[in-house]
């Protein structure tokens, strides 16, 4: 990531130029950095949001380490992220290849395939709550229509299927986004490369693995990073569809934080959970960035 062009000579120098960055810095400082900094304080307190916070040292963190639902939330978000890597990034890549054609109709198909992306997660989540409904949902209606009554499940009501159902909806919404990214990159691969491979007797599958995939490496790395950081931020879909249930089976860090903070009035504890989340996301991303840079270094 990041533009690699070297920086031209500055137009002007001097502290006064800070003024151009000042509005953005102030806004950013006020609503991003300041809350981050204050959470470092609140995380060490017992605080219900109304009375004065009371310093309790590491208690919140000890509690977080022993909170089974909190720990499971990280398991769930990991499963969710792995699922989205398959259903969003992987599926998106396949669809980019499939829909990569100049023929009439393909542009329209790409447009339709992408369209769920402009719906809000909330609308998507609510719509899918109906699609997945046990009694009258679309999926169970189809299954019953084929006489597969036993296959009809209360998808969002069972711990065993709820998380999978959410991953599916997430895939539905985001696959188009990754498809478009891959598609834009595919268009830049010279056709001659494929033609040469065809002359060498390579079929479409081999071409995919020997040409397409390596050529899309950089986009793939970016997409994976987006899916991972986006996955940790996941809240809307979970809130709209299950709000962590049934039996915390779809609890992810964001839903658990909001529950602790606002349902249970334990803002100190919830803030400690946010600090943990921030650290986890930063560490995972930085490790990932470092690793992917090393991949670059090995190749070139």
């Amino acid at each position: 990531m990041g533009a690699r062009t070297s920086r031209p000579a500055p137009i002007a120098t001097g502290a006064v130029n800070l003024l151009f960055a000042a509005p953005a810095l102030l806004l950013f400082g006020m609503f991003v950095l300041l809350p981050l900094a204050t959470s470092l304080y609140y995380a060490f307190t017992s605080w219900n949001g109304f009375t004065q916070p009371e310093w309790i040292g590491l208690s919140n963190f000890r509690r977080a380490a022993a909170d089974p639902v909190h720990l499971r939330a990280y398991l769930h978000v990991t499963i969710y992220i792995l699922g989205t890597l398959v259903l969003e990034v992987g599926f998106g890549l396949l669809m980019a290849v499939l829909l990569n054609s100049q023929r009439r109709g393909f542009g329209l198909m790409r447009g339709f395939f992408f369209s769920p992306m402009v719906l809000s997660m909330t609308a998507a989540g609510l719509l899918w709550t109906f699609v997945l409904d046990y009694r009258s949902g679309l999926i169970n209606s189809v299954l019953r229509g084929f006489g597969l009554d036993d296959w009809a499940q209360p998808w969002l009501s069972q711990p065993g299927t709820a998380l999978g159902a959410i991953v599916l909806v997430s895939g539905w919404r985001f696959a188009g986004f990754y498809m478009i990214i891959f598609f834009a990159a595919l268009r830049r691969i010279p056709r001659s490369v494929y033609e040469a491979a065809t002359l060498d007797g390579a079929g479409p599958v081999r071409q995919f693995f020997t040409i397409t995939l390596p050529m899309l490496r950089r986009q793939t790395l970016t997409c994976v990073l987006l899916a991972v950081t986006g996955g940790f931020a996941g809240f809307d879909l979970f809130f709209a569809m299950t709000n962590g249930g049934p039996f915390n089976a779809t609890e992810v860090p964001a839903t658990w934080i909001i529950k602790q903070g606002f349902d249970n009035n334990q803002l100190g504890y919830a803030t400690a959970l946010t600090v943990i989340l921030a650290v986890v996301v930063m560490v995972v991303s930085l490790i990932y960035l470092r690793m992917s840079e090393r991949v670059d270094a090995v190749r070139y």
């Binding site: 109304f50 209360p154 039996f247 909001i258 349902d263």
Partner: protein
């Protein structure tokens, strides 16, 4: 509509009393609650309209939330904001005492002392009713809710020749008949745990001695020691004969109730507020009735106990318009207003209203049930630390949905509660 009425009434006052100027500014009383619809809400709207007609200087601004959101984030974000509501809806008992402790709930003993409290039934203001905290009155009681009874679809019962069961065995026989005929015997929308949790507590209160029930929920004794295995086993019996809807843990409380009103399930254990919602959710020809949870153990301490709670309105301690808020609450609890309120489908805590009002027959039977009960058990989530109550509710849901055995659920419950300290 409301604006129109206010304007006309202002004009009327101007004309008759001959005021020179309109009262300086309208006082806006902010009132937040979770009555989104139904006949309760219609009654409330009517009372508010009457109030605004009688008090042209005051308007009531209702801030309404869906029930679940109200309890989750809706109320607490308001209580903590700079612009606090003057009046808010709350459950008596633990939620109220927590609000008092946090400094949200105003002490209204002084206002109540001046004859106002005499309007209410005798038991309205006690620590037991949960409307007072340390002897000070912090709530204007508005409804006595029976939080659990078993509603049933009369047509389907007749179709299979069933009658309301009186013993647990009869109850199971009814369920078995229904399940064998492909019906969903009991529907509960339990994604928030309290609908079934309330009923499970009712069942528990029938088989666990009162002091042990209390001790377990106060964390003075483990649930295992207190004898909570038995109620969990009873729930397991129900699960095993196919009593419950399969999607209970994904269904919200309201959709659960709607499933009952649509005839997609035969019985629905929930509180007295179902009556107030029937107007919105059920067809006019929908026939339903209720029976209390059948006697499980005739030799138990209180085999016919009823589970119920008082709900009411609280004045915020920082209410910007306290005086106007009190004026409104006073108006709301006059016998005249309460008759309207009771006819909307509530059990009024004001003396004599139940006799004066032309109440829904279902509410009459509910009032009768309260009269005949040998004990009144409060729902745990309004009486005991919320985290403990919710853990117990969740344990009940584990068993009823077949996720865990009673033993495992009990282990989980005691471990979870022990970790709370």
């Amino acid at each position: 509509m409301r604006l129109h009425m206010t304007t006309t009434s202002v004009l009327a006052v101007l004309a008759t009393a001959g005021f020179a100027t309109i009262a300086a500014a309208q006082t806006e009383v902010r009132f937040t609650h979770a009555m989104t619809g139904g006949s309760n809400r219609a009654a409330l709207d009517e009372i508010i309209a009457n109030f605004e007609a009688a008090n042209p200087g005051i308007t009531i601004n209702q801030i309404v939330f869906d029930d679940d959101i109200y309890q989750d984030t809706g109320l607490i974000t308001q209580l903590q904001s700079n612009e606090v509501p003057d009046i808010y809806f709350q459950w008596a008992g633990f939620p109220l005492s927590r609000d008092v402790e946090a400094g949200f709930a105003a002490d209204i003993s002084a206002e109540m002392g001046a004859g106002w409290s005499d309007r209410f039934i005798e038991s309205a203001f006690t620590d037991g009713a949960g409307t007072t905290v340390n002897g000070a009155i912090h709530m204007v009681p508005l409804s006595l809710d029976v939080t659990n009874t078993i509603w049933y679809n009369v047509d389907i019962f007749e179709e299979y020749g069933l009658t309301p069961p009186e013993t647990w065995e009869e109850f199971k026989a009814v369920i078995t008949t229904l399940a064998e005929n492909g019906e969903t015997p009991i529907v509960t929308g339990n994604n928030e745990f309290w609908p079934l949790g309330n009923w499970a507590s009712h069942i528990a209160a029938r088989v666990v001695p009162a002091d042990q029930f209390d001790a377990a929920l106060r964390q003075e004794m483990t649930f295992a020691e207190a004898g909570f295995l038995r109620p969990l086993e009873l729930l397991e019996e129900l699960h095993e004969i196919g009593a419950f809807n399969r999607d209970m843990q994904g269904l919200g409380a309201d959709p659960g109730m709607a499933t009952f009103f649509q005839g997609a399930a035969v019985m629905h254990p929930i509180g007295s507020w179902l009556v107030g919602l029937a107007a919105d959710l059920a067809d006019d020809d929908f026939r339903y009735s209720q029976f209390d949870t059948p006697v499980i153990d005739p030799d138990a301490e209180a085999p016919q106990s009823v589970i119920g709670v008082t709900t009411g309105l609280v004045v915020h301690a920082q209410a910007p318009n306290r005086e106007a808020a009190i004026t409104f609450l006073d108006f709301l609890t006059t016998p005249e207003s309460q008759v309207l309120w009771a006819e909307g489908g509530s059990l009024s805590p004001v003396e004599g209203v139940t006799d004066m009002a032309e109440m829904d027959p279902q509410m009459e039977s509910m009032a009768e049930m309260l009269g005949n009960a040998d004990a009144m058990v409060p729902p745990p989530d309004t009486t005991y630390p919320l985290a403990v109550a919710e853990a117990w509710y969740q344990a009940a849901a584990f068993v009823a949905s077949g996720e865990r055995s009673p033993e495992d659920a009990l282990d989980w419950l005691d471990t979870t509660v022990a970790a709370l300290n």
